[in-house]
Amino acid sequence: MQGLEDLYREIILDHYKNPRNSGQLDTPPAHRAEGYNPLCGDEVAVYVANEGDKIVDIKMSGQGCSISRSSASLMTVAVKGKTVAEARDAIRTFKNMMSIHEASLGAEAEDQAAPADLRTLGELAALQGVVKFPVRIKCATLAWNTLSQVLDEIEAGA
């Protein structure tokens, strides 16, 4: 099962079994958005509490597979305490990592994640193996797309 080892890295399984920042925040003051994966029924809710442009707290809840749950958990760790702009950078970097496959299928290659970016991803790099399993990319990006919506809302409200 060597293929699967690439997908189910230890960090991923750890975040799946012990999700960080799991739960909810009161809205308001926090902001909230929901994401669905229509292919599999996975759902995620992302809660963000901000002070100005700083993400002071973040929680996520929902149902999903190991990839979608661990990606959500890793995401919360990656952006907690960051600014909205930094979080947007992280989203971009992460989605670029995930789009390598789509790009090779002919989609436009936007600004490809440079290796430097990948290094800044830290633990998130564990999700890189997902790219080899195209159907699971939607699992991995679900929470990130949802975070993006919350950030839109925060900036719209600001």
Binding site: M1, G3, L4, L7, Y8, L13, K17, L39, C40, G41, D42, E43, Q63, G64, C65, S66, I67, S68, R69, F133, R136, C139
Partner: protein, 422 residues
């Protein structure tokens, strides 16, 4: 619903020669290196060479557009297309196939045809339509759209924890209803619904009955007259036919009353700049160039199934379901939960299951490494997922080319999920 005893069916099952059948399906040799345990026929079946050959032969010797040509090719193409209509009609016991079988692109279009045509010409605002909570989105979303557009009322029949419909309050639900539309076999629970009884009670209450046979017609000898329904939708790709072909059967007198759905070529008698006159049955419902080769392919598919014998197909699936349920119990005990009725006679060969707390996506991913193909997700039945209290299930489904070795392959692969998910 079933009359055979399990013993009888097990005996009959021995007569379906799976090895011989598999030899007709090139994909088992050609898909790749691993052995293929294809357990996803409820999503889409595979096709035997007999079906592919008929379509190729058609394209290579006969193709021309149907119904409108005087020349020989067009005449032969039309004859083949219409013969398929007859064969498909005969397969479900349609009394008058040449008028009652409408070819569509899939079961979904068939069900949309019913909903839209009813909305345009039969239902009025406030009218009641009865569905079940185990419907596939194909028999749910079209009605939700009609509800939005016309303001009808939708009433749902519940089901119990084992997946049986709850018919206790049925008469109250039927009271004043115009139509009951329900699945003959749940694509998640496998439940074979008591359609004969429901149809009888619906008719007594003055309601018509539409049946979604997408998971039934491929697996169980079907006789629309015996079932007592007024309409039946099903889809070619789940019954050895090509993609791109579906069927709606309905009683001729009902089709006469139903206004057309799609507009265009072939479905008209006359068109003026200010209006049109619909064509005769069934053309009134077949707008545009139909899926000609696909209809012919479906004709070959029902011929293949009939040659096997649908009684044997059903017996084989009962026996294999029984075997699988027993082996799951042995291998996994309480770690594995199979949704739907316990009794193999009450269900189709669809086995939705949960294994420990491993997410269905992860199960399916690990299984794929063993060449075991199962579906993971909501199976286009989100409301049912909610009543089951899950976001998704894994689903293994059985068909004529599956045997005990597939069940064993499945069990081995499920056990392997533990190496990741403890």
């Amino acid at each position: 619903m079933e009359t055979m005893t399990t013993q009888e069916t097990a005996a009959a099952a021995d007569t379906l020669d799976v090895a011989k059948i598999r030899a007709d399906f090139p994909i088992f040799d050609r898909h790749g290196e691993k052995p293929l345990h294809f357990l996803d026929s409820a999503a889409s079946s595979q096709r035997p060479i007999q079906v592919l050959a008929v379509m190729d032969e058609y394209y290579e010797t006969t193709h021309a557009n149907v119904h409108r040509g005087v020349y020989g090719l067009a005449e032969r193409a039309t004859a083949q297309y219409e013969e398929s209509r007859g064969a498909v009609g005969a397969f479900i016991g349609a009394p008058d196939p040449s008028r009652e079988i409408v070819f569509t692109k899939n079961a979904t279009e068939s069900l949309n045809l019913v909903a839209n045509s009813f909305a345009r010409g039969i239902l009025a605002p406030g009218d009641k339509v009865v569905l079940t909570k185990m419907e596939h989105h194909a028999n749910l979303v079209p009605w939700l759209m009609v509800k939005d557009q016309l303001g009808i009322e939708i009433v749902y029949i519940d089901h119990d924890a084992d997946g049986y419909l709850d018919l206790d309050g049925l008469d109250a639900k039927l009271d004043g209803a115009k139509l009951v539309s329900l699945t003959l076999c749940s694509n998640v629970l496998g439940t074979l619904n008591p359609v004969k009884e429901i149809a009888a009670r619906a008719h007594a209450a003055g309601a018509l009955v539409a049946a979604d046979g997408a998971q039934y017609v491929p697996h169980i000898a079907t006789d629309v007259q015996d079932l007592g329904v007024d309409m039946l939708a099903f889809t070619g790709h789940k019954m050895l036919g090509p993609t791109g072909i579906g069927v709606l059967w309905a009683k001729a007198e009902l089709l006469e009353r139903m206004p057309p759905f799609l507009g265009g070529g072939d479905m008209i008698l006359d068109v003026r700049l200010d209006g049109f006159t619909p064509n005769e049955l069934p053309y009134k419902f077949e707008a545009g160039t139909p899926p000609i080769a696909e209809a012919i392919g479906l004709g070959a598919a029902v011929k293949y199934l009939s040659a096997l014998g649908m009684e044997k197909v059903r017996a084989h699936e009962i026996a294999l379901t029984e075997y699988a349920l027993g082996r799951f119990e042995e291998a996994f005990g309480k770690d594995m939960v199979v949704h739907g009725p316990r009794n193999p006679l009450d269900r189709g060969g669809v086995l939705s299951f949960a294994y420990r707390d491993v997410h269905p996506h992860d199960i399916s991913q690990v299984l794929d490494q063993f060449g075991v193909c199962v579906r993971a997700g909501h199976h286009c039945a989100k409301p049912l997922m909610r009543t089951l209290g899950v976001a998704a299930t894994a689903r293994a489904s059985l068909y004529i080319y599956n045997d005990r070795s597939d069940v064993e392959g499945l069990i081995e692969a499920i056990a392997a999920t533990r190496s990741f998910f403890g």
